[in-house]
């Protein structure tokens, strides 16, 4: 275990508290003997100091208020004394487990191509931080300053990493703040299906703010299925950075199913010709929850297709946010971009805010987006009921059909099954 | 008269036309037949001035004027008309507006007075009746939502209105049923006369039962390999292009 002494007191709230913590921890964080990492952490801290937590006056944060984060104080994670906390059933044959942000070798499958980042920092100079950026992304800057551990996945040319579950468990028995950093590098022709799962155990508020960096080389293919199943008082703020080289693919699906406040940001750059990205997702937002899916897709090379379908279902007093920006650079001729976001409102107290956005500087492009917002179709509901299906079940069927339509886009069976399982029955649990 | 001498053209560095020699005297209809990939469509696009083809040699003149030096619209104004194999859709552009704009542009180029809306409509309706076209085709967007047959009829209608002196029909028969084929053929035959000539490009002999050509040329691998009277088409139908290739 990492030799971080217990630090039980809550720090002061807001950005100052996090900066204060950096000052206290900097000499003890992993990689303290690596000058390049020290300066990277310093740069992260300086950038966060300058930016602070975003306010709603920042255009990208118009619909998501970090008030609950700024007002509360968060403490350190404790070194786990016993690891006997119940884990969810594995979603894939091979699983690696992080408890409170730290790698847990005894719970992890040794055959999985995943290692602890903290123990291999000497290998990642020039890789760590090469895809992520700090400017305009204060949470990434904060993560660089404070990360302790995370997964390191580094696949050789042509290597097939198979299907791997990366489970991050948060013991939510006290208000902790976690900033894990995960690095994924695929050499040319490599393949990986990564099921990244955030799982909260306990009722306390906490902050789980991972940053993931993906470097996808030519002809490499990564499927990134994300299951956000944080605890009911958890705050989940994750940031994914991915860059994709020629003919590579970054194929992702985000499922927001937990947390009180969740925002997942993805910054994906199609950097090589004929590379592709799928940024699909579904948000299940129940009473008292706020979920936000925000993506920035940069078409920086010609002949790249991108696809995005995001579906949001809202129940109770809840709010869902979708923001998707597609930026097509002048060089990115023959871009084929498609974006669709659909929302289903199930309650009078729910709100959906949707902002699809196209920014186009190349002329030979085919880009379109669509958005629909509405309630369940009464005619469909009636049709089902007229065939003898009770109303609650009919509703549930229609809601699941709406959501599973998005999940169907995930090609890998294991990943699709994990996502489908989380989706099915959501409404019945909600309505119960 | 259309006169093509030693015409060579390539697309993206690949030579498609490898020295075409062809004369179509005014008043005659010539057919060009050939297998797929022989350069038939390229010939029609090169003559009408589509971009993307590089002329690497030879010449093409129409009534003594150098076609290859002209912009597509200038070629149109000299009387050259291309009936497209795949007529293009123009969403939002009304067919009537399109036809009138084209007609008036060509009339202007010839120094003739332009037609006002009433004159145009009268003319268009007359021609449409002759082609058994429903009048609502004038109101629809150009070729938008038209069936294959309707698109081809629309091409013939344009030809009837613009009255070209040289019509190039690029596989106008592809995808047409026999009734539509007859309408197209009737349209061309109605134009027939001492001042009209036509180059009918086709893969099959079928169309030539309705538009009987004065001469038939066989285009293979970018060259005219054989020429003859209408009987050549029948011969090809019976023995196939392979027989020509062997000869």
């Amino acid at each position: 275990m990492n030799a971080i002494t217990e630090h039980n007191a809550l720090t002061e709230p807001g950005a100052a508290g996090f900066l204060h913590r950096f000052e206290g921890l900097r000499a003890r964080l992993p990689g303290r003997d690596l000058p390049w990492l020290q300066s990277l952490r310093e740069a992260g801290a300086a950038s966060f100091r300058e930016q602070g937590f975003p306010t709603r006056r920042v255009e990208a944060w118009k619909y998501t208020d970090l008030g609950p984060l700024k007002e509360a104080g968060f403490g350190e994670a404790l070194t786990p004394v016993d690891s006997a906390i119940p884990l969810p059933r594995a979603a894939a044959p091979r699983r690696v487990v992080f408890i409170d942000g730290r790698f847990s070798p005894e719970l992890s499958d040794p055959d999985a191509p995943v290692r602890s980042l903290a123990r291999h920092l000497d290998e990642v100079e020039g890789l760590l931080g090469s895809v992520a950026r700090h400017e305009g992304v204060p949470l990434a800057a904060l993560n660089t300053a404070l990360f302790e551990d995370g997964a390191l996945i580094d696949l050789a040319p042509g290597e097939d990493g198979g299907v791997v579950e990366l489970l991050s468990v948060v013991r939510a028995d006290r208000p902790v703040a976690l900033h894990p950093r995960h690095l994924v590098r695929l050499a040319p022709g490599a393949k990986l299906v990564l099921i990244e799962r955030a799982w909260g155990h306990g009722e306390s508020r906490y902050l789980h703010s991972p940053v993931l960096e993906f470097q996808v080389a030519a002809d490499a293919h990564v499927t990134h299925a994300r299951l956000q199943q944080e605890g009911p008082a958890g705050i989940h703020l994750s940031t994914v950075f991915a860059t994709v080289a020629e003919k590579g693919t970054y194929d992702s699906f985000l499922l927001h199913a937990g947390a009180r406040l969740a925002r997942a940001e993805a910054y994906v750059t199609l950097a090589g010709a004929f590379s592709a990205a799928h940024l699909n997702g579904a948000q299940l937002v129940g009473d008292g929850q706020h979920a936000d899916c925000t993506t920035f897709l940069d078409h920086a090379a010609p002949d790249c297709p991108s696809r995005q379908t995001v579906k949001t279902v809202l129940a109770g007093r809840s709010r869902g946010v979708f923001q998707g920006k597609i930026h097509v650079h002048q060089i990115a001729q023959r871009t084929d971009g498609y974006q669709m976001n659909q929302a289903l409102l199930l309650s009078e107290q729910a709100e959906i805010d949707s902002k699809p956005q196209l920014e186009i500087y190349a002329d030979d492009v085919k880009c379109s987006h669509g958005a629909t917002v509405g309630a369940l179709d009464e005619t469909q509901l009636f049709y089902l009921r007229s065939r003898g299906i009770p109303e609650a079940e009919a509703r549930s069927m229609l809601i699941e059909a709406f959501l599973l339509d998005a999940v169907e886009t995930v090609e890998n069976e294991v990943a699709r099954a994990a996502l489908s399982e989380a989706v099915s029955g959501w409404w019945q649990r909600m309505a119960a | 008269m259309l006169k093509i001498e030693g015409l060579r053209a390539e697309i993206e560095g690949k030579e498609i036309l490898k020295g075409i020699d062809l004369e179509v005297p005014t008043g005659e209809i010539h057919a060009i037949m050939g297998p797929n990939g022989s350069g038939k469509s390229t010939l029609s696009y090169v003559l009408s001035g589509r971009e993307g083809y590089e002329i690497t040699g030879g010449s093409a003149t129409f009534n003594g004027q150098d076609l290859l030096a002209m912009e597509p619209e200038e070629r149109a104004a000299t009387g050259l008309f291309l009936a497209f194999q795949y007529p293009v859709e123009l969403p939002g552009v009304g067919n009537a507006n399109f036809l009138r704009t084209a007609l008036n542009a060509q009339r202007r180029a010839k120094g003739e007075s332009e037609l006002d809306a009433m004159q145009f409509l009268k003319l268009a309706r007359e021609r449409m009746r002759a082609l058994s076209m429903p009048e609502d085709m004038l109101k629809r967007g150009v070729n938008v939502g038209f069936s294959g047959g309707e698109k081809k009829r629309n091409e013939v209608l344009q030809m009837a209105l613009l009255k070209p002196s040289l019509a190039i029909l690029d596989e106008t028969d592809s995808g047409l049923d026999i009734d539509a084929l007859k309408i197209v053929a009737d349209g061309v035959n109605a134009m027939r006369g001492p001042d009209f000539s036509s180059l009918v490009i086709t893969h099959y002999q079928r169309l030539l039962d309705y538009i009987v050509p004065d001469r038939v040329h066989v285009l293979m691998q970018g060259r005219i390999v054989q020429s003859g009277g209408p009987e050549l088409a029948k011969q090809l139908e019976a023995s196939g292009y392979a027989s020509v290739e062997a000869a």
Partner: protein, 498 residues
Amino acid sequence: MPAVTETIDTVAAVTSGTYKYGFETEIEMEFAPKGLNEDIVRFISAKKNEPDWLLAWRLKAFAMWKTMEEPHWPAVSYPQIDYQDAYYYAAPVKKQGPRSLDEVDPELLRTYEKLGIPLKEQAILAGVEGAGESPAEGRMPIAVDAVFDSVSVATSYKERLGKEGIIFCSISEAVQEHPELVRQYLGSVVPQGDNFFAALNSAVFTDGSFVYIPKGVRCPMELSTYFRINAKSTGQFERTLIIADEGATVSYLEGCTAPMRDENQLHAAVVELVALDDASIKYSTVQNWYPGDENGVGGIYNFVTKRGACRGKRSKISWTQVETGSSITWKYPSCILQGDDSVGEFYSVAITNNRQQADTGTKMIHIGRNTRSTIVSKGISAGKGQNTYRGLVKILPKASGARNFTQCDSLLIGDQCGAHTVPYIENRCISAKVEHEATTSRIAEDQLFYCRQRGLSEEDAVGLIVNGFCREVLKELPMEFAVEAQKLLQISLEGSVG
């Protein structure tokens, strides 16, 4: 109608693609001193012999403006504007107050004639006969209010409209003659502190048009205002207020031009529309301010706040705009759909060529039940132009049964320009239905070739295809304007191909 035919002829005569309305009228002008302070606000108010309440209203706006910041969120860029380096009042030297057309300075009448806007009523009537391709039934004449720099110089057909109880005059005149109406509605849709430019306008607005259509009256002719910026270093800050009382119907047209100058001039107008129960207002704009030259030198900054309130049940406000001019356009004609079953519409064509920038769109705020809105936006970018659609559809919890449909298409011509789409959808009502569609495309090579094969020049072909692209919007314009708008589109695109 000659107003239009003449304009078209003028426009059609263009061969080089230069701006046709770039001439300057030599006329004796009266200016307020340069710069902006409380004294200038007082000067303008005094010049117009305004009542105390209006001066107080202006001063309050000015106080607000001083505390506000220029907005920087639109996707446009321009050098810092020096608000002290402009004239806020410029008017042709003439005696005050309303007058008959015969008294208008002939130089001004010539100016408007040259612009294709005859102010003489008989000239307009003469156009009814022999109107070429027009349908057999007689055309409606158009009543025109002509605003020259800071003041309204003439309004035609006032008497005839007066017989129906319709008030159509300059807003300065309305302040004198109908203060109760002005006081009731001014600032009721766009409050003084609404935004930076609206606050500026509220402090220094000099003139504009005022329309009141009484209960149950269907306005018998198109009403129109023609805005002309002539003087150097002046801003134009007009204020238009249109009120359609219960069951009233009106269609209003707005046109604008300015001379070619190598300085940037500011046009910061405010337009407020109020529709009561069962009333309907159709507001059409063909905006052709000087766009600057191909290097982006000069041109009008068109920073305008336009908003309509559908206060009454079943009321309807429809905005149609064709934006071809200005170096920078920043405007979002909006509808507040307050009355149950009210309807808002926004149809827009915005074209940017050379170095023009446009950030335009709409806001549809659904408050009442069963309110419906439609947005159709067509953006065309050419040259180095940047074109942004920015729109908000907001559905409040009580707007049950609300519907919105948005169609937002961009066309790019060339690879140096940009097309951007930024829709905001905020829905808090379960029974509302919102649909948004957006596409981006360019003119396909085969479409161009097809047209050229039929004898059209490349520019004509582009014009034809662009007009086809804009059809859904152009068909919303009154017919005379639609023809003019088509020609304008073509001219705006000159030099963009080949």
